[in-house]
Symmetry: C2
Subunit: 548 residues, 2 copies
C-alpha cells in the first residue's frame, strides 16, 4: 500500500506535524482583543501575547538557545509563564518548569539532571539561586524576572538580561520552525516521597493531543462543569506542576479570558475570582479548603465558579462545603506521569433529581476516562477485573499523552511501563457505567484482619462529621490484625469533638455493610495540621513516620 | 537528543498510534446501555454494537479480507454502515463508501479505481450492481444486505453471504491489530461537475484527529448549537458522503443515542425527529428545505433540533424559516477533500441581544475555523489578505485531516497542494474576529463591469423575498459587461412574484452600498426546480449550460 500512497501525491505538502504552534492558529485569529490578566494589575490582549511570544523567542535566540536546548523557569503563575509555555517549545527547545517548593539542593539536582542551559529567576527566588549557583553544572545564562514592586536582594548572580528588557529588544515576529512532532517540549520532576525527584517529559504531539482531547471532554458533559468559550480561566495548580494540568493550553486554544494570580495568597485569589469574574479553575483540595476558610471568602461570591479538584481525592465533606457556597465542584484524576488528565467526574442526565448526598458522591468520583484513554483496572496478572463497582485492582492506562518514561532512568521507566501499560499505583474499581472510583494508593493500602480497608472511604466518612476540617487515615502495624487504621483529624476552630465521637460516627456505617468494622480507626489523633508534600498533597509517608 | 530519548526508556511500550479503535475505549465502557436506532424499527445497545463490530470483522476475515484490502459499501444510512465505519478500518482494511447516486457507469469506475475486493449491496441496489457486474474488475466477493420487508429482484450476482447471516456466524470478539496510524482507513469519490470522479482518502490518524478536534469545537461554543453527551444524533448527510461529515465517529465517542434513518424520505425523517427526540443533525440546505416543506412538517415539533448546514452556503431566507420553526440552525464549512469540517458558524457572547436579522446573518457565516486548522485567505501569490471583512481571495488550508491528494492522480494532487496548502477554490474574506465568509466558488465567480459580484450575496437577498422558495445566481457572458448575473428562482406554491419584483428588491440594496448595481440580475427566470449534483448541491455548471 505504501507504494500506492507514494504514487498518489507528488510531495508531502499535506504533512501536518502536531506542534504546539498549531494550537495558536484559531485563537490568534478569533480572540485578538481577549484579555490576559496578571494579578489584576497587568492586562494585555491575545494580540500582545502573540507579539510577546515572538519577542521571547527572539530574546532566547539572542542568548544562543537552539533546537534541543533546555530553558528552566522559576516564576509564580504569570503571563510570562504562559509565554514560556509557547515560545520555548515552539523554538524546538525544552521548557523545564522548576518546582520552586523543593529544597535548594533538590532544585539544583533537577536543573542539572535536565541539563538546563538557561534559567529564568523571579526576584523572589534570587536567594535560592544564589545559594545553589555554584552547584549548577549546565546553566550558562541567567535571566532575571524583575517583578514590579519587589526588590531584589543582594546577590552575585551574573544575569545576562532582564525578562522585560529582553522582550523589549526582540522583534515581534519569529519564524517558528517545523520539526518532528515527537520532539521533547517540556520536562519537570515528580516529587515522590522517596528517593531523588524523577523527571517526566512530554513531546509536542503529546501536549497537542492532551489539549484537544481534554478540551473535548471538558466541553461535552451533559450537566455540571463545562469549560467553554464563554468562561474566564484562572489556574490554581502551580504552572510549574504538570503544566498546570495543561489547562493554560486549552484556555488559549479556546481564546478565553485568562487570569494569572502570581503567588497563591488566599485573600488575593478570592478577590480575583470576584473582580475578574473567574468561572473556571482547578486545584488540589488543600487550596480549595484554604480559599473557603480565608477571611476574604466570607464576602466572596463563588456562585459562578466551576472548579476541578485533583492531585488527590476530593473528600465529600469538602465537596459539600463548596457546593453549599454555590461552587460547581468536581473531581479530576491524573498524575505527573500522565500529562496529567485521565478522567473527570461528571453528573449524568437527570442528576438534578438526585438527592444532595448522591450528587456529592458523583462529584467526588474519580470519574469517566477522557476520550482516547484506555484505562483498565487489573489484577496482578494484568487481567481485567469486572466492571461491577466492587472488584478492586491497580489502574493501568494507555493514552497518547503519557510520559515515555523517567528522564535518564531506564529502570524506573521499565517498571512504569511493565506489560505495555503505564502503572499508576492507584487502586480502584469501575462500575457498569464506566465510572472509576479510586479506593487507595497502592502504598497507602491498609490491610486489617485480612481485609483491604479503603483509607479514602474512611476519610470521606470522617470529613463529613460536623466540626471536622481535614482528615487523613493511615495504617499502623498491629500484631493481631496486621495493620489498623489511624485517623489524624484537624478540627474547625472551636469545634468540640472527641475521639469517641469520631469512632462512633464511623461505626454507625458498619451496620449497613458500607464498611467493615476493621475500618473503624483504632486511634483518632487530633492535630494542628497535616504534613504535606511540595505540591500540597497530604504526605502519608511523613504521617506514618510521625505516628510510628 | 534522540539518543538521550532512547536511553530514557527500555522499550516503546508507551507508543500509542492514533487508530480508529482507540475511539471506542470510552463509549464502550461508559455507554453500554445507550441506544442505536434504525428507522424506528430496530433498536440495539452500544454493547451490541461492540459485539457486532467484532462479528463483522470475523465475517470479513472469513471472506479473506486482510490488511490493505478495500471493502466497498452500498447501503442507506444504517447501523450496518456505522459498524462498517469501525470494523473495516479497524482490521487494517479500507472502507470505500460508494456514492449510490452516481450513474451505474460511474459507480463501476469508482469501485474499480479504488480496487475494492468485497462489495456490500443493499437490496435496493441489486439492479444497479446487476447492470455493472461484468465491468467490476477487482471485486471477488459480494455480500447481500437483505433489508427486512424489501424484496430482492431477480439477479445473477453470486453473493457469498448475507450481512446478518455473516454476523450471526461470527464470534463476538476479534483481536483488532495495532498498525501504523498513517494506514489508509477510508476512501470515496468526489462528484465534481467535470471529468471522472476523483478519489480522496483518509488515514486512521486523520480520522481520529478530525473526530477529537471537531468534538472539541462542537462542544465548546458560548451560545447556540452545542453537541454534547446529552444529545440524540441523526445524520442527514448520507453516510457514503465524507463519512457523514465524520459525525458518526463523534457521536460514538460521546456515547449518545444515535438514530439512522435509512433512505431519506422527508415524512419519515420528520417523524423520527419527533418520535426519537433527535436534537442534533447536519445536512445540505436542500434537505432542510425539503423537510420544512413536507406535509408531515406542519405537525412536527422542531424546537429541540439543532442542525448544521453545509455542502453549500446556508441562504439567509432558509435560515430564517428554520429559526421561525424553533430550529437552532448554523452553517458549517468544508469539502470532501477536507474530511470535511474546516469551520463552524458560532454566535458570540451576548448574541441574544442582537436583532433577529443580525443573528440570522451570524448563523449563516462560513464561521470560525476549528482548532488546529490553519485557514488563510490569500491572493494569487499566496500572500495573506487583511482580516478586514472585505479583502477577498482563495481559502487555502492546512489541518491534520486533509486528504493527501487524489487517489492515483498525482497531477491533480499536486495542483490541490500547490504551495504547501490545500486549495479549496472558495473565495472568501475574514474579519477581525476571525469569522470567515465565503462569497463565491472560484469557478462560479461573476465578473461584471470589471467588478467581482458575489453570487452568494445576491442569492441571500433574493432568498429573503416573500414568496421565494429557492434561488441560484449564475453569470452569463455579456459583450458590454463581460458577464452579467442571471437569477433562477423557484417560487413557493401559489406565490405571485414577477421578474420586476425581484429586480427591484435587489436594486433596493444598492442605495446603502451593500451591493453594486452590477449585482442586479439582468434576467430573472422562474423555474420548477434547480439542477442538483448527486449530493444535493445546486449544479451551477448544469444551470449555466441550461441558460446558454
Amino acid at each position: 500500500m505504501s507504494d500506492d500512497v507514494k504514487t498518489a501525491q507528488a510531495s508531502n505538502a499535506y504533512a501536518y506535524p502536531l506542534l504546539i504552534k498549531q494550537l495558536l492558529h484559531t485563537p490568534f485569529a478569533q480572540a485578538q482583543e481577549q484579555e490576559i490578566v496578571y494579578r489584576g494589575q497587568l492586562r494585555m490582549s491575545y494580540a500582545t501575547l502573540r507579539e510577546r511570544i515572538a519577542r521571547l523567542a527572539n530574546g532566547l535566540a539572542q542568548l544562543g538557545v537552539e533546537y534541543g536546548n533546555t530553558v528552566a523557569v522559576m516564576d509564580w503563575d504569570s503571563h510570562r509563564y504562559l509565554e514560556s509555555y509557547f515560545a520555548i517549545p515552539m523554538m524546538g527547545a525544552v521548557l523545564q518548569t522548576v518546582n520552586v517548593r523543593l529544597s535548594p539542593a533538590e532544585i539544583a539536582y533537577t536543573i542539572n539532571h535536565a541539563g538546563a542551559e538557561v534559567l529564568f529567576v523571579h526576584t523572589d527566588f534570587i536567594p535560592v539561586v544564589e545559594s545553589i549557583k555554584d552547584q549548577l553544572e549546565t546553566v550558562r545564562k541567567f535571566v532575571w524576572i524583575d517583578e514590579p514592586g519587589s526588590e531584589a536582594p543582594a546577590h552575585t548572580i551574573a544575569f545576562s538580561n532582564e525578562y522585560e528588557a529582553m522582550l523589549a529588544a526582540g522583534s515581534t515576529s519569529y519564524d517558528f520552525p517545523e520539526f518532528d512532532e515527537n520532539t521533547r517540549a517540556t520536562t519537570f520532576y515528580t516529587t515522590g516521597t522517596t528517593g531523588l525527584p524523577k523527571g517526566v517529559y512530554f513531546t509536542h504531539r503529546q501536549l497537542v493531543l492532551h489539549t484537544i482531547s481534554l478540551m473535548a471532554a471538558l466541553a461535552a458533559p451533559i450537566a455540571g462543569q463545562r469549560f467553554h468559550r464563554g468562561d474566564v480561566y484562572m489556574p490554581l495548580t502551580p504552572m510549574f506542576h504538570v503544566h498546570a494540568w495543561g489547562m493554560p493550553y486549552i484556555a488559549t486554544v479556546m481564546g478565553v479570558k485568562q487570569v494569572y494570580p502570581g503567588r497563591y495568597v488566599p485573600e488575593r485569589l478570592a478577590r480575583l475570582i470576584e473582580d475578574e469574574g473567574v468561572t473556571f479553575s482547578h486545584c488540589v483540595g488543600t487550596i480549595l479548603h484554604m480559599l473557603l476558610t480565608c477571611a476574604e471568602a466570607k464576602a466572596t461570591d463563588f456562585s459562578k465558579w466551576k472548579v476541578i479538584i485533583g492531585g488527590s481525592a476530593l473528600p465529600q465533606g469538602l465537596a459539600a462545603s463548596a457546593v453549599a457556597r454555590g461552587i460547581d465542584v468536581f473531581a479530576g484524576y491524573g498524575m505527573s506521569e500522565t500529562c496529567p488528565v485521565l478522567s473527570l467526574a461528571q453528573l449524568p442526565a437527570g442528576a438534578e433529581k438526585l438527592d444532595a448526598g448522591e450528587q456529592i458522591h458523583l462529584r467526588c468520583k474519580t470519574g469517566l476516562p477522557v476520550p482516547l484513554v484506555d484505562l483498565r483496572v487489573v489484577d496482578d496478572e494484568m487481567a481485567d477485573l469486572a466492571h461491577d463497582g466492587k472488584s478492586t485492582g491497580e489502574i493501568v492506562a494507555r493514552a497518547p499523552w503519557l510520559t515515555q518514561g523517567y528522564w535518564k532512568n531506564p529502570e524506573a521507566s521499565e517498571q512504569l511501563w511493565a506489560g505495555g501499560y503505564l502503572h499508576t499505583q492507584d487502586i480502584a474499581n469501575i462500575d457498569a457505567t464506566g465510572n472509576v472510583q479510586i479506593t487507595d494508593r497502592l502504598k497507602d493500602v491498609i490491610k486489617s484482619g485480612g481485609e483491604w480497608v479503603s483509607s479514602l472511604e474512611i476519610e470521606n466518612l470522617i470529613s463529613q462529621y460536623e466540626g471536622v476540617s481535614e482528615v487523613a487515615v493511615i495504617g499502623i502495624k498491629d500484631e493481631k490484625w496486621g495493620e489498623r487504621p489511624v485517623a489524624l483529624v484537624v478540627l474547625k476552630e472551636g469545634a468540640a469533638v472527641t475521639e469517641e465521637d469520631i469512632k462512633q460516627h464511623v461505626l454507625s456505617f458498619t451496620a449497613s455493610g458500607r464498611i467493615s468494622k476493621y475500618a473503624v480507626p483504632q486511634i483518632v489523633k487530633f492535630v494542628e495540621a497535616l504534613a504535606r508534600t511540595s505540591v500540597g498533597k497530604v504526605n502519608k509517608k511523613a504521617l506514618r513516620e510521625q505516628i510510628a
